[in-house]
Protein backbone atom coordinates (compact mmCIF):
# COMPACT_ATOMS: atom_id res chain seq x y z
CA UNK A 1 0.00 0.00 0.00
CA UNK A 2 1.04 3.58 -0.52
CA UNK A 3 1.36 5.90 2.48
CA UNK A 4 2.50 9.53 2.41
CA UNK A 5 5.23 9.95 5.04
CA UNK A 6 6.41 13.52 5.52
CA UNK A 7 5.08 14.45 2.11
CA UNK A 8 6.82 11.60 0.27
CA UNK A 9 4.95 8.53 -1.03
CA UNK A 10 6.25 5.29 0.47
CA UNK A 11 5.42 1.70 -0.32
CA UNK A 12 4.71 -0.20 2.90
CA UNK A 13 3.48 -3.78 3.37
CA UNK A 14 -0.19 -4.36 4.20
CA UNK A 15 -0.73 -4.15 7.94
CA UNK A 16 2.22 -1.83 8.53
CA UNK A 17 1.88 0.26 11.69
CA UNK A 18 2.71 3.84 12.55
CA UNK A 19 5.79 2.46 14.33
CA UNK A 20 6.93 0.81 11.08
CA UNK A 21 6.48 4.02 9.11
CA UNK A 22 8.29 6.12 11.72
CA UNK A 23 11.17 3.64 11.70
CA UNK A 24 11.47 4.15 7.94
CA UNK A 25 12.45 7.82 8.44
CA UNK A 26 14.22 7.99 11.81
CA UNK A 27 15.97 5.84 14.36
CA UNK A 28 15.64 8.42 17.15
CA UNK A 29 14.25 6.89 20.31
CA UNK A 30 13.00 10.12 21.82
CA UNK A 31 12.07 13.66 20.79
CA UNK A 32 9.88 12.51 17.90
CA UNK A 33 6.11 12.77 17.45
CA UNK A 34 3.77 11.52 14.76
CA UNK A 35 0.44 12.74 13.39
CA UNK A 36 -1.77 10.48 11.28
CA UNK A 37 -4.11 12.45 9.02
CA UNK A 38 -3.67 15.54 11.25
CA UNK A 39 -4.30 13.70 14.53
CA UNK A 40 -1.43 13.08 16.97
CA UNK A 41 -0.83 9.39 17.68
CA UNK A 42 0.71 8.84 21.11
CA UNK A 43 3.98 6.95 21.03
CA UNK A 44 2.42 4.23 23.17
CA UNK A 45 -0.12 3.62 20.39
CA UNK A 46 2.29 3.57 17.43
CA UNK A 47 2.61 -0.22 17.24
CA UNK A 48 -1.11 -0.86 17.57
CA UNK A 49 -2.12 1.75 14.99
CA UNK A 50 -2.20 0.19 11.53
CA UNK A 51 -2.00 2.29 8.40
CA UNK A 52 -4.31 2.31 5.40
CA UNK A 53 -3.76 3.14 1.78
CA UNK A 54 -3.34 6.90 1.18
CA UNK A 55 -2.87 7.69 4.87
CA UNK A 56 -0.79 10.81 5.55
CA UNK A 57 1.75 10.53 8.32
CA UNK A 58 3.81 13.45 9.64
CA UNK A 59 6.87 12.63 11.75
CA UNK A 60 8.39 15.67 13.46
CA UNK A 61 11.25 16.46 15.79
CA UNK A 62 12.83 19.58 17.30
CA UNK A 63 15.27 21.62 15.24
CA UNK A 64 17.03 24.95 15.75
CA UNK A 65 14.54 27.78 15.55
CA UNK A 66 12.87 30.76 17.16
Amino acid sequence: MKVIVNGEPRELPEGASVADAVASVTTAGTGVAAALNDEVVRRSAWSATTLRDDDRLEVLTAVQGG
Binding site: N6, G7, V25, T26, A28, G31, V32, A33, A34, A35, D38, V40, R42, R43, E58, V59, L60, T61, A62, V63, Q64, G65, G66
Partner: protein, 255 residues
Amino acid sequence: MDKLVIAGEELDSRLIMGTGGAPSMHVLREALTASGTELTTVAMRRVDPSARGSVLDVLAECGIRVLPNTAGCFTAGEAVLTAKLAREALGTNWVKLEVIADEHTLLPDPIELVEAAEQLVADGFVVLPYTSDDPVLAHRLERIGCAAVMPLGSPIGSGLGIRNPHNIELIVERANVPVILDAGLGTASDAALAMELGCDAVLLATAVTRARHPARMAAAMRHAVEGGRLARLAGRIPMRRYAQASSPFEGLATS
Protein backbone atom coordinates in the same frame (compact mmCIF):
# COMPACT_ATOMS: atom_id res chain seq x y z
CA MET B 1 17.98 39.42 40.42
CA ASP B 2 14.33 38.86 41.32
CA LYS B 3 12.81 35.75 39.78
CA LEU B 4 10.68 35.58 36.67
CA VAL B 5 7.52 33.55 37.30
CA ILE B 6 5.59 32.08 34.37
CA ALA B 7 2.60 29.85 35.10
CA GLY B 8 3.91 29.29 38.61
CA GLU B 9 7.38 28.22 37.43
CA GLU B 10 10.33 30.28 38.69
CA LEU B 11 13.23 31.24 36.47
CA ASP B 12 16.37 33.04 37.64
CA SER B 13 17.20 34.33 34.17
CA ARG B 14 15.02 36.88 32.42
CA LEU B 15 16.67 36.17 29.08
CA ILE B 16 14.87 33.58 26.97
CA MET B 17 16.89 32.45 24.00
CA GLY B 18 16.09 31.10 20.57
CA THR B 19 18.32 28.68 18.74
CA GLY B 20 17.73 29.66 15.11
CA GLY B 21 20.57 30.99 13.01
CA ALA B 22 23.55 29.56 14.89
CA PRO B 23 26.23 28.37 12.46
CA SER B 24 26.98 25.21 14.47
CA MET B 25 25.93 23.33 17.57
CA HIS B 26 29.29 24.24 19.12
CA VAL B 27 28.70 27.97 18.65
CA LEU B 28 25.14 27.56 19.91
CA ARG B 29 26.30 25.80 23.07
CA GLU B 30 28.85 28.54 23.81
CA ALA B 31 26.28 31.28 23.26
CA LEU B 32 23.60 29.64 25.39
CA THR B 33 26.07 29.12 28.20
CA ALA B 34 27.23 32.75 28.04
CA SER B 35 23.64 34.00 28.02
CA GLY B 36 22.78 32.29 31.31
CA THR B 37 19.37 31.41 29.88
CA GLU B 38 17.18 28.77 31.50
CA LEU B 39 14.50 28.57 28.81
CA THR B 40 15.16 28.27 25.08
CA THR B 41 13.00 27.80 22.01
CA VAL B 42 13.16 25.15 19.32
CA ALA B 43 11.08 24.68 16.18
CA MET B 44 9.26 21.51 15.12
CA ARG B 45 10.02 20.13 11.68
CA ARG B 46 9.81 16.89 9.72
CA VAL B 47 12.64 14.54 10.73
CA ASP B 48 15.69 14.77 8.50
CA PRO B 49 17.47 11.40 8.30
CA SER B 50 20.69 13.18 7.31
CA ALA B 51 20.70 15.58 10.30
CA ARG B 52 23.86 15.53 12.42
CA GLY B 53 23.52 16.33 16.12
CA SER B 54 20.34 17.46 17.82
CA VAL B 55 19.54 20.81 19.36
CA LEU B 56 17.77 18.83 22.07
CA ASP B 57 21.07 17.23 23.07
CA VAL B 58 22.67 20.67 23.39
CA LEU B 59 19.84 21.94 25.61
CA ALA B 60 19.94 18.79 27.74
CA GLU B 61 23.71 19.08 28.22
CA CYS B 62 23.33 22.73 29.25
CA GLY B 63 20.43 21.94 31.60
CA ILE B 64 18.16 24.36 29.74
CA ARG B 65 14.41 23.90 29.64
CA VAL B 66 13.02 23.52 26.12
CA LEU B 67 10.25 25.78 24.80
CA PRO B 68 8.84 24.52 21.50
CA ASN B 69 7.44 27.08 19.11
CA THR B 70 4.98 26.95 16.23
CA ALA B 71 7.16 29.01 13.89
CA GLY B 72 6.20 28.80 10.26
CA CYS B 73 2.51 28.17 10.90
CA PHE B 74 0.06 30.36 8.97
CA THR B 75 -3.23 29.07 10.37
CA ALA B 76 -4.66 28.23 13.77
CA GLY B 77 -5.08 24.62 12.66
CA GLU B 78 -1.41 24.25 11.73
CA ALA B 79 -0.28 25.88 14.96
CA VAL B 80 -2.51 23.72 17.16
CA LEU B 81 -1.34 20.51 15.46
CA THR B 82 2.31 21.60 15.77
CA ALA B 83 1.85 22.42 19.46
CA LYS B 84 0.30 19.01 20.08
CA LEU B 85 3.16 17.28 18.24
CA ALA B 86 5.65 19.27 20.32
CA ARG B 87 3.90 18.27 23.53
CA GLU B 88 4.08 14.63 22.50
CA ALA B 89 7.70 14.78 21.28
CA LEU B 90 9.18 16.90 24.05
CA GLY B 91 6.96 16.17 27.02
CA THR B 92 6.10 19.80 27.75
CA ASN B 93 2.77 21.59 27.63
CA TRP B 94 4.48 24.95 27.23
CA VAL B 95 4.38 26.47 23.77
CA LYS B 96 5.54 29.67 22.18
CA LEU B 97 2.55 30.26 19.93
CA GLU B 98 3.47 31.84 16.64
CA VAL B 99 0.99 32.25 13.78
CA ILE B 100 2.36 34.44 11.05
CA ALA B 101 0.55 36.26 8.28
CA ASP B 102 3.17 36.16 5.53
CA GLU B 103 6.79 35.24 4.91
CA HIS B 104 7.82 38.77 4.04
CA THR B 105 7.11 40.51 7.36
CA LEU B 106 6.61 37.44 9.59
CA LEU B 107 4.11 39.60 11.47
CA PRO B 108 1.51 37.77 13.57
CA ASP B 109 -1.94 37.11 12.11
CA PRO B 110 -4.08 38.32 15.02
CA ILE B 111 -7.25 36.48 14.01
CA GLU B 112 -5.57 33.09 13.64
CA LEU B 113 -3.46 33.77 16.76
CA VAL B 114 -6.49 34.33 18.98
CA GLU B 115 -8.23 31.27 17.55
CA ALA B 116 -5.18 29.07 18.17
CA ALA B 117 -4.65 30.49 21.67
CA GLU B 118 -8.24 29.73 22.64
CA GLN B 119 -7.95 26.13 21.46
CA LEU B 120 -4.60 25.51 23.14
CA VAL B 121 -5.58 27.10 26.47
CA ALA B 122 -8.72 24.93 26.47
CA ASP B 123 -6.50 21.90 25.85
CA GLY B 124 -4.35 22.65 28.91
CA PHE B 125 -1.34 24.27 27.26
CA VAL B 126 0.72 27.01 28.86
CA VAL B 127 0.47 29.42 25.95
CA LEU B 128 3.08 32.13 25.37
CA PRO B 129 1.86 34.00 22.29
CA TYR B 130 4.11 35.98 19.98
CA THR B 131 1.98 39.02 19.24
CA SER B 132 2.15 42.40 17.59
CA ASP B 133 2.76 45.45 19.80
CA ASP B 134 -0.99 46.13 19.94
CA PRO B 135 -2.16 46.69 23.54
CA VAL B 136 -5.71 45.64 22.66
CA LEU B 137 -4.60 42.30 21.21
CA ALA B 138 -2.21 41.69 24.11
CA HIS B 139 -5.03 42.25 26.58
CA ARG B 140 -7.33 39.96 24.61
CA LEU B 141 -4.71 37.20 24.70
CA GLU B 142 -4.34 37.58 28.46
CA ARG B 143 -8.12 37.38 28.95
CA ILE B 144 -8.20 34.16 26.92
CA GLY B 145 -5.86 32.65 29.50
CA CYS B 146 -2.39 32.96 28.00
CA ALA B 147 0.37 32.61 30.61
CA ALA B 148 2.32 35.58 29.20
CA VAL B 149 2.16 37.97 26.27
CA MET B 150 5.11 38.39 23.95
CA PRO B 151 4.90 41.59 21.88
CA LEU B 152 7.42 42.19 19.13
CA GLY B 153 9.80 45.12 19.21
CA SER B 154 10.05 45.01 15.42
CA PRO B 155 9.88 42.25 12.78
CA ILE B 156 11.64 38.95 13.52
CA GLY B 157 15.33 39.03 12.70
CA SER B 158 15.24 42.70 11.64
CA GLY B 159 17.42 44.06 14.43
CA LEU B 160 15.39 47.28 14.30
CA GLY B 161 14.93 47.32 18.06
CA ILE B 162 11.78 48.60 19.77
CA ARG B 163 9.92 50.73 17.20
CA ASN B 164 7.00 51.67 19.43
CA PRO B 165 8.14 51.97 23.05
CA HIS B 166 4.90 53.72 23.95
CA ASN B 167 2.84 50.67 22.97
CA ILE B 168 5.12 48.39 24.94
CA GLU B 169 4.60 50.61 27.99
CA LEU B 170 0.84 50.48 27.49
CA ILE B 171 0.95 46.68 27.31
CA VAL B 172 3.09 46.51 30.46
CA GLU B 173 0.81 48.88 32.40
CA ARG B 174 -2.25 46.80 31.70
CA ALA B 175 -0.84 43.28 31.92
CA ASN B 176 -1.29 40.92 34.86
CA VAL B 177 0.82 38.22 33.22
CA PRO B 178 4.51 38.50 32.31
CA VAL B 179 5.30 40.66 29.27
CA ILE B 180 8.17 39.24 27.24
CA LEU B 181 9.64 41.43 24.52
CA ASP B 182 9.99 39.03 21.61
CA ALA B 183 11.58 39.76 18.24
CA GLY B 184 13.48 42.56 16.58
CA LEU B 185 16.17 43.24 19.15
CA GLY B 186 19.54 44.03 17.60
CA THR B 187 21.96 44.79 20.38
CA ALA B 188 22.37 45.08 24.14
CA SER B 189 20.83 48.54 24.51
CA ASP B 190 17.61 47.24 22.89
CA ALA B 191 17.36 44.54 25.55
CA ALA B 192 18.08 47.04 28.32
CA LEU B 193 15.38 49.36 26.97
CA ALA B 194 12.84 46.52 26.94
CA MET B 195 13.50 45.87 30.61
CA GLU B 196 13.50 49.59 31.48
CA LEU B 197 10.09 49.89 29.84
CA GLY B 198 8.88 47.29 32.32
CA CYS B 199 9.00 44.07 30.35
CA ASP B 200 9.50 41.03 32.55
CA ALA B 201 11.86 39.28 30.15
CA VAL B 202 13.15 39.33 26.60
CA LEU B 203 13.29 36.58 24.02
CA LEU B 204 15.90 36.85 21.29
CA ALA B 205 17.86 34.69 18.90
CA THR B 206 19.16 36.37 15.77
CA ALA B 207 20.88 39.23 17.60
CA VAL B 208 23.09 36.62 19.24
CA THR B 209 23.29 33.74 16.78
CA ARG B 210 24.12 35.96 13.80
CA ALA B 211 26.43 38.34 15.69
CA ARG B 212 30.10 38.25 14.69
CA HIS B 213 30.88 36.81 18.14
CA PRO B 214 27.72 35.05 19.34
CA ALA B 215 28.98 34.12 22.82
CA ARG B 216 30.19 37.67 23.43
CA MET B 217 26.85 39.14 22.35
CA ALA B 218 25.05 36.58 24.50
CA ALA B 219 27.02 37.80 27.52
CA ALA B 220 26.21 41.40 26.56
CA MET B 221 22.51 40.56 26.40
CA ARG B 222 22.66 38.86 29.79
CA HIS B 223 24.18 41.96 31.39
CA ALA B 224 21.81 44.28 29.52
CA VAL B 225 18.75 42.38 30.75
CA GLU B 226 20.05 42.43 34.32
CA GLY B 227 20.99 46.11 34.07
CA GLY B 228 17.66 47.06 32.56
CA ARG B 229 15.74 45.13 35.17
CA LEU B 230 17.68 46.74 38.02
CA ALA B 231 17.14 50.18 36.50
CA ARG B 232 13.40 49.53 36.21
CA LEU B 233 13.20 48.42 39.84
CA ALA B 234 15.39 51.33 40.97
CA GLY B 235 13.09 53.88 39.33
CA ARG B 236 14.62 56.29 36.86
CA ILE B 237 14.65 60.02 37.47
CA PRO B 238 12.11 62.10 35.57
CA MET B 239 13.36 63.85 32.44
CA ARG B 240 13.71 67.63 32.84
CA ARG B 241 13.84 70.41 30.34
CA TYR B 242 16.70 72.25 32.06
CA ALA B 243 19.72 71.30 34.10
CA GLN B 244 19.52 70.53 37.78
CA ALA B 245 22.84 71.15 39.54
CA SER B 246 24.23 68.21 41.41
CA SER B 247 26.73 70.38 43.32
CA PRO B 248 25.51 73.00 45.82
CA PHE B 249 25.77 76.67 44.91
CA GLU B 250 26.15 77.64 48.58
CA GLY B 251 29.64 78.10 50.03
CA LEU B 252 31.40 78.94 46.79
CA ALA B 253 34.70 80.81 47.08
CA THR B 254 34.31 84.39 45.90
CA SER B 255 36.91 86.65 44.39
